[in-house]
């Protein structure tokens, strides 16, 4: 997997387009800015594979913790099963032809990850639980999963409550240095021990630094100097959009422009637009799922809560400007009925529709950048949003 710039940066912002392509065939897989949707244990929630295959180009994110062990007593290793299966995660989860992104760890899932150099073990702290896995566990999973994009391992420290909400600079610096070292060693080991899988996949460096600008700048510079990195993931803790934009800009300004940059963006469409303007190329997101769980259907630029009684008799499709299978076949009244009778089909149909709309949103962004109208598109989009759309 590789990435190339398609159009130069927008004059007013840092928005740009690019495309991911297949190493071997040089075939364009998908253009950027684009979304990588979060899966749950290898499946896009409530969406079966036959429907998934109808989406033209959809990146899917897999969680390491979902596949490290395949049972609750941590005795059945996912890498063992995948090795026995022999064909990688695409075939195992039936996710072809979509590119797969293997996240080391999701920010939402853990409070902290530390690494013990002595024992060569990671410890992930997750709401009272501790998950321990070794360096080789992760490496084996990477090697047997054949994912297209693989995040380097890193340490994560989120908990600053003991320090009265103030980041401990020394600790942050130590963590960043340790992360850099871990990523360097990971690339070395992966490329040396499993050359073919390393060549085929894109290694994603994780840029950290907490909320400290200087730390972030330094860490971005150190990660960008690692050999073998194919792209970056800018690790930003949940914060206000303005802070996210600031940290993204600082990180991006210290990263090589010829490689893609990604961030997490499950918050809102405004967040995506703002971060695209900072120069982010891909977004790991569970936004369609979050909307669907609350009964919302995207109708760009708005979203409608189909629980609302006003939709009981509404025979319009979920969006008048959508050609997804749900809008071609079902009405708002039917979705309102399914939600009110707690039928699971509601989630399925909403996920399909919201995912299609979310992809369409990114297509609109790509078009706006290529026609050099991204600034105007952003202003118009924000102006047309309702108060309850955010």
């Amino acid at each position: 997997m590789k990435w190339n710039v398609f159009s130069e940066q927008d004059k007013e912002t840092n928005a740009r387009t690019g495309f991911f392509s297949n190493n071997a065939a040089d075939k364009v897989i998908c253009k950027t800015p684009h979304c990588i949707l979060v899966t749950s244990r290898g499946s896009l929630p409530h969406v079966t594979n036959d429907v998934l295959s109808e989406f033209p180009c959809l990146g899917l994110q897999l969680e390491t913790f979902d596949f490290l062990w395949l049972n609750s007593n941590s005795k059945l290793k996912g890498s063992d099963i995948l090795r026995e299966f022999g064909a990688g995660m695409h075939e195992y989860c039936q996710l072809q032809p979509h590119p797969l992104y293997l996240s080391f760890v999701s920010q939402q899932q853990v409070d902290k990850i530390t690494f013990s150099a002595k024992r060569q073990q990671f410890h992930a702290y997750q709401r009272g639980n501790t998950i321990t896995f070794s360096w080789s566990d992760y490496l084996e999973l990477v090697q047997t999963s054949y994912c297209d994009m693989v995040e380097c391992p890193s340490v994560v420290t989120k908990d600053d409550s003991k320090n009265g909400g103030v980041w401990d600079s020394n600790r942050l610096q130590r963590d960043c240095e340790q992360s850099t070292q871990l990523q360097y060693e990971f690339i070395q080991q992966w490329s040396q021990q499993h050359g073919p899988s390393f060549e085929q996949s894109m290694c994603i460096g994780v840029v950290q630094g907490g909320m400290k600008e200087e730390q972030r700048r330094r860490h971005a510079q150190s990660i960008s100097q690692l050999n073998g990195i194919g792209g970056f993931y800018i690790d930003v803790l949940p914060a206000k959009l303005t802070e996210q934009q600031k940290l993204a800009s600082i990180s991006i300004s210290n990263l090589p422009p010829w490689l893609p940059r990604g961030m997490e963006a499950s918050g809102s469409l405004e967040q995506v637009l703002a971060l695209v303007g900072c120069g982010v190329d891909y977004f790991i997101s569970s936004y369609p799922y979050i909307l669907s769980t609350h009964g919302y259907a995207l109708d760009l630029p708005h979203k409608n809560n189909l629980w609302n009684i006003q939709y009981r008799n509404n025979t319009d499709p979920l969006s008048l400007h959508c050609s997804c299978p749900v809008c071609r076949r079902y009405t708002r009244a039917y979705l309102n009925h399914l939600l009110n009778t707690h039928e699971m089909l509601a989630m399925t149909l909403l996920m399909i529709h919201n995912s299609a709309q979310y992809i369409q949103f990114f297509h609109q962004i790509q078009q706006a950048i290529e026609t050099k109208t991204f600034g105007a598109f952003q202003k118009q989009f924000l102006a047309s949003r309702r108060v309850d759309d955010s």
Binding site: S40, R41, G42, S43, P45, H46, V47, T48, N49, D50, D66, L70, N71, S72, L76, I81, E84, F85, Y92, C93, Q94, R312, N313, T315, R329, Y330, T331, A333, Y334, N336, H337, L338, N340, T341, E343, M344, L345, M347, T348, L349
Partner: protein, 393 residues
């Protein structure tokens, strides 16, 4: 069996015949099994057929479109639940159930009679095991307020409002839903009932069914109405019910009421009932469609049968295959990289992946397991029809 029709009934029957008819393709030489075709305004139903239950105009966990495309020709929707939400007015305004839920194939709607039973006694299992009598299902009894000559009165579980379901109202609702086959209001008596009370119940049901028929005949709307044969496990009452209902112009016959406490009793009952039902009309077995029962009731001449069984067992981690039911939660499936069945059901997922999803309690597991069972049932019934054509059943 002699049927006496008045002029109106003859006109109605001819009108319905244009859009509804039943054709026997082949009768097995080995049993009473037969392959037939039911023609409806929304498509053909090849019989014997399994009828998937879409209670709230949706199959549980599965997009009914997928199952319809795979060959599920008839679906069962529940009038009682659709009355409570979204209501017949909404569905009528949408153009009927087919348009509302976007279903191309045929739909059969029931009358709400089963809910009269379940609101009083709980599930069939509860009633058979005498649980309803010890008051453990008080929450159900409190919803059913009364059963009188007029109809059944109960409270909505959604908003507590009082609803009286009369035979006429039940038919009017089904007219709004615009299903292809409708069922008259009946009372489903429990298995444990004194004979005198059972007789009263059957007589009441007969009067209700007649009122339903008359309401239906005022405006057939291209719908067919099946009578529901009652009588519990009492053969005499069953005979009486068959004779009474056959003397009226129903378009088919459903076997309802209490069907016995176990499969053995069910089969014995059907062995008595089936030869007495006119063979030129389609018949339907209400609420029974597990695999073993299907294997035993089809040779008795049953044409269609409905049940939520395939979906329910799927949700509990059980997959139908030709080599038996697989309990996919067992650890032995963790590294079996084959589909559950090479030809029937889902072919592009492996047992290992399904095991993984189920153990991880992913909602997708419920979807895939239910979908597999639904697709398996379509193939299972197709195979059954082929075997009848070859006189193997």
């Amino acid at each position: 069996m002699r049927r006496q029709f008045c002029k109106t009934a003859i006109q109605v029957e001819e009108q319905v015949k244009e859009s509804f008819r039943f054709e026997i393709i082949h009768k097995s030489s080995k049993s009473r099994a037969r392959v037939g075709r039911i023609y409806t305004p929304h498509g053909i139903i090849d019989t014997p057929a399994y009828v998937a239950v879409a209670t709230n105009a949706a199959l549980k966990h599965v997009d009914h479109r997928l199952v319809g495309d795979a060959g599920q020709q008839l679906m069962f929707c529940n009038t009682y639940h659709l009355l409570l939400h979204p209501g017949p007015a909404v569905i009528e305004a949408a153009g009927g159930l087919h348009k509302f839920m976007n279903r191309k194939g045929a739909i059969i709607t029931d009358s709400g009679g089963f809910q009269v039973f379940s609101l009083a006694h709980g599930s069939v299992y509860d009633e058979l095991n005498m649980k309803s009598r010890v008051g453990t299902n008080k929450k159900y009894t409190s919803l059913l307020l009364s059963v009188t000559e007029e109809g059944a009165t109960f409270r909505s579980y959604r908003d507590g409002s009082k609803i009286t379901l009369t035979p006429e109202y039940s038919v009017q609702i089904q007219k709004s839903l615009q299903g292809d086959i409708i069922i008259p209001l009946d009372e489903l008596p429990p298995y444990h009932m004194e004979r005198s009370k059972l007789v009263e119940s059957v007589n009441l049901t007969h009067r209700w069914e007649l009122r339903s028929l008359r309401e239906h005949q005022k405006n057939p709307k291209n719908q067919a109405m099946y009578a529901v044969i009652h009588g519990g496990v009492d053969r005499e009452l069953r005979q009486k019910s068959i004779e009474f209902l056959c003397s009226h112009p129903f378009d088919g016959f459903a076997i309802g009421g209490s069907l016995g406490k176990d499969r053995q009793e069910l089969i014995q009952l059907l062995e008595f009932v089936m030869p007495r039902i006119p063979t030129e009309y389609p018949n339907h077995l209400l609420g029974i469609a597990d695999l073993e029962s299907i294997e035993r009731v089809v040779p008795l001449g049953v044409d269609t049968m409905d049940s939520c069984y395939p979906f329910r067992v799927g949700r509990h981690g059980n997959l139908f295959t030709r080599r038996g039911v697989l309990h996919i939660s067992q650890s032995k499936y963790r590294n079996i990289f084959e589909p559950p069945d090479p030809e029937w059901g889902l072919k592009d997922v492996t047992l290992a992946y399904l095991h993984h999803l189920l153990k991880a309690r992913e909602p997708m597991a419920l979807t895939l397991l239910s979908l597999h069972n639904a697709l398996f049932m379509v193939e299972f019934m197709k195979d059954m029809r082929h075997r009848i054509l070859r006189d193997e059943i």
